[in-house]
């Protein structure tokens, strides 16, 4: 018999999802003394657990040398349980449109492996429509969020430098690590063409923040999550302190099916499937907070149908799932011949960038696209993993050998081995990450024909880039080539052209998808108010990237954290006032 077992305990607040938004909300609410149920679809996870640890392992400890698999999309050591596809949990696409969806099922979610690039949105980013006439303004501005950014900086930790650039607000920064060799060249060479290169802003602890978390020991493996808690993972930095208050019950392997409502249309809790036992449960709470990720939260709302809400919960606007948007991305790489034959030293540093280029053309009016992008740079004498040394036949014929003569591309033997050693650390990579214009016609919806293995209807995506994003990618490619030329580099491969949308990645690939439960002034134009409270159901909140009106060219996590903090404190006030 199909039976739903009700958990005996009733909570003040029930939170779905333990990533950046859910972790922050749990921490703020628990600190305030509220009784919280925190539901996570994956298993428990602690970055310090040696059983699950991949940090500081050697390439040869993996039989595939760190190559990706269906269960680790970003390589064997990457700390995300899930990936672009999850067994038994499909999603579909409408027509020929593209969208790739990355999910991570574990406490902390995708924060365990993310890039830690932590950029505040600037004043312009909240009011882009005023500036360029496209999209929509946020109902709040930078000044509303700034105090929360300040607190997130001090609570979670981020390194950077105060630059006083108008749309790149400074924060309470830890001091950054020194640039690596290729980053020194970037700083020097890009001055000549007016492209700024400043210290990166990443949530990695270069100094102690408190006595609970360690300091970075420069292994370059933040994507494997940090056993010393020296980077921001929601699991270690938010969920653990929340649990330590004694006010939070953590439900793991809890795959939420729907939000439950009463006859008055109020949320009463959720029902979920235990992924291990395959049994059905429900948990009751006075307030429900969805922080399952933009698309998962939209999916839960759309699946929460009742007589009162035939189109799904909190969806009188019809906008749940709409305005889905991801960052744009395009990339290129090159060889810097003057970085061949390098003197060896440990150049691991922090994972990824020590420096980056913020968008530098806000005031340029004659571009054939609307919004900006920032540039992230790769390079250095990185650890060899699967893929290392591949494609030598495309490189070793390009530059003269030690004897000054060009050689035949390809080859074998000790000569080839020498080539690999000569090229190590001479490569440089460029990745543009840009802002797209949110479109109502880009959306996720419930697929009428497909359910997952728990019997829950799945998402179907419909997403197409517009000329704004395609032309922006073209500008990225032109910029990369100008940079490569300025640095005296040799570009690798063909320059991506029109036929490939200038190398523009498919929507979803940058994993900055947001916008599916956008905030706004009323239920005509939006799903929630500026505190993530749904217009239709006052005891139902969304505290993930779904509430974004627009995703700047900045990575979304810092804004998710700041908004979740702001919304959680509003929620506490409302409960005190007995108004929900």
């Amino acid at each position: 018999m199909f039976q739903i077992k009700e958990q005996a305990k009733k909570y003040d607040v029930l939170i779905v999802g333990s990533g950046a938004g859910g972790g922050m909300s749990a921490q703020i609410l628990a600190e305030a003394g509220l009784k919280v149920a925190l539901l996570e679809a994956g298993p428990n996870f602690d970055p310090a657990d040696p059983e699950t640890q991949t940090q500081m392992k050697w390439p040869y400890e993996s039989p595939r040398r760190g190559a990706s698999t269906d269960t680790r999309s970003f390589g064997d050591f990457d700390m995300a349980y899930g990936g672009w596809q999850i067994n038994g949990e499909p999603y579909t696409r409408k027509g020929n449109s593209e969208f790739d969806w990355f999910r991570s099922r574990m406490v902390g979610g995708r924060t365990n492996h993310w890039g830690r690039i932590s950029l505040r949105f600037g004043p312009l980013d909240f009011k882009r429509k005023d500036h360029d006439g496209k999209g929509d303004n946020w109902p709040i501005g930078y000044d509303d969020v700034a105090p929360y950014y300040d607190r997130v900086d001090k609570m979670v930790g981020v390194y950077g430098t105060r630059e006083n650039i108008p749309n790149e607000p400074d924060g309470y920064f830890l001091p950054p690590p020194k640039p690596r060799l290729h980053e020194m060249y970037l700083k020097k060479d890009l001055k000549k063409i007016g492209i700024p290169v400043i210290a990166a802003r990443k949530s990695v602890l270069t100094k102690k923040l408190n006595n609970k978390r360690g300091v970075c020991f420069y292994c370059q493996q933040c994507n494997r999550t940090c056993t010393a808690y020296a980077d921001f993972s929601s699991s270690s930095v938010l969920v653990q302190p929340a649990l330590e208050t004694g006010n939070v019950d953590l439900y793991v392997n809890a795959m939420v099916r729907e939000v439950l409502t009463d006859d008055n249309g109020k949320a009463t809790g959720v029902s979920y499937v235990d992924r291990v036992e395959m049994k059905e449960y429900s948990v009751k709470a006075k307030v429900v907070v969805l922080a399952a990720s933009a698309c998962s939260s939209a999916r839960i709302l759309l699946n929460s149908k009742s007589e009162k809400y035939p189109n799904g919960l909190a969806n009188s606007s019809g906008l749940v799932g709409k305005y889905l948007h991801d960052s744009t991305g395009a990339s290129r790489s090159a060889i810097l011949p003057h970085l061949m034959d390098r003197i060896r030293y440990n150049e691991d540093g922090v994972r990824g960038i020590h420096v980056y280029t913020p968008w530098w053309l806000n005031d340029k009016k004659d571009l054939d696209f609307t919004r900006g992008y920032h540039i992230e740079y790769g390079g250095g004498m990185n650890v060899p993993l699967y893929g290392f040394g591949m494609g030598m036949e495309k490189k070793n014929g390009l530059v003269p050998g030690p004897d000054g003569k060009k050689k035949k591309a390809g080859g074998y033997g000790l000569d080839l081995k020498e080539d690999v050693k000569r090229f190590w650390g001479a490569g440089i990579g460029f990745a543009g990450r840009g802002e797209s214009i949110p479109q109502k016609d880009n959306y996720c919806e419930i697929d009428p024909n497909v359910v997952d293995k728990y019997g829950i209807p799945v998402l179907r995506f419909n997403y197409n880039w517009t000329d704004d994003e395609i032309n922006q990618a073209k500008h990225m490619q032109d910029t990369f080539e100008e940079i490569i030329h300025t640095m005296g580099g040799i570009p690798m491969g063909e320059k991506p052209g029109k036929e490939s949308n200038y190398g523009l990645e498919a929507p979803g690939r940058i994993i900055h998808e947001v916008g599916t439960t956008r905030m706004g002034h009323n239920s005509k134009d939006s799903v929630t108010n500026s505190f993530g409270q749904t217009h239709d159901v006052d005891n139902l909140f969304v505290m993930d990237g779904g509430v974004f009106v627009s995703q700047a060219d900045k990575n979304p996590t810092w804004t998710i954290l700041a908004l979740a903090m702001r919304s959680s404190e509003y929620l506490i006030d409302e409960l005190k006032k007995m108004s929900i």
Binding site: T52, Y172, P179, M390, Y412, K417
Partner: protein, 235 residues
């Protein structure tokens, strides 16, 4: 593929399928998930989910290639990366086992590699009346020279060129991710350390220097264990 290999693959395949049905992704052993017969002790040395453990443990016990093919791969691997004074050949650095594993891990390698080996034996038999591994060193090199240089190779060698490029990729990756390969490369990372910038001799060689602003802004590593103090910090 011979019958013995086919059976082995079927066993590996069924282990993976059985796991899909239980769908358990908990990194910890769960006794009630119907997996009591599956050994979930993690002897791989790094964090794996149950699903990954079951698959990997099955794969590392298997072999995709026949003994003949493994012998041919050994010859090729050591032509691509022979031993030098201080470092072992590719095969002695575990590269053949790595390639065998990858063929199981990524089935898209299976036809190009086993077919490529067959192409090589055919080419060698036509030219020298011997399979590749039994040909003389000079004869082997004669064939390799025809397929190791993509831009110079004759058009009729194109399939051989493609195969050799794939082998070169796998041998280089396999070697330089091995313990001796990392040493050979001069890799000094993957150890806890305190990054304090590019060494002075390297800066000198490149005629670069950290400017005063950078030095002032970047972390003073002698204070890294002090708790950050923002009392004089102005936004």
């Amino acid at each position: 593929m011979d019958r013995r290999k086919t059976l082995k693959l079927m066993v590996a395949g069924s282990a993976a399928t059985g796991l899909v049905l239980t769908g358990c992704e908990s990194p910890k052993t769960s006794s009630d998930a119907g997996q009591s017969k599956v050994d979930l002790e993690n002897d791989l040395g790094y964090g794996r989910t149950d699903e990954e453990l079951v698959r990997d443990k099955a794969l590392v016990k298997e072999s995709f290639f026949s003994d003949h093919d493994l012998a041919t791969i050994t010859v090729l691997a050591d032509i691509i990366l022979p031993a030098d004074g201080d470092h072992p050949s590719a095969s002695n650095a575990g590269v053949v086992e790595f390639i065998d594993f990858m063929a199981l891990d990524r089935p898209t390698f299976q036809v190009p590699l086993s077919g490529g080996l067959r192409w090589l034996d055919h080419e060698s038999s036509v030219r020298f009346n011997k399979v590749f591994k039994d040909a003389s060193a000079d004869q082997q090199i004669a064939i390799v020279d025809d397929i190791a240089y993509p831009e110079d190779a004759k058009p009729e060698m194109s399939q051989g060129v493609k195969f050799f490029s794939t082998m070169r990729d796998l041998v280089l990756t396999g070697y330089f991710t091995s313990k001796p390969g990392l040493e050979d490369l001069g890799f000094m990372g993957n150890v806890p350390n305190v990054w304090d910038g590019v060494p002075q001799e390297v800066l000198d060689k490149h005629n670069l220097a950290y400017d005063e602003k950078t030095l002032k802004e970047c972390v003073d590593q002698s204070t890294r264990n002090e708790i950050m103090d923002w009392s004089d910090y102005k936004l």
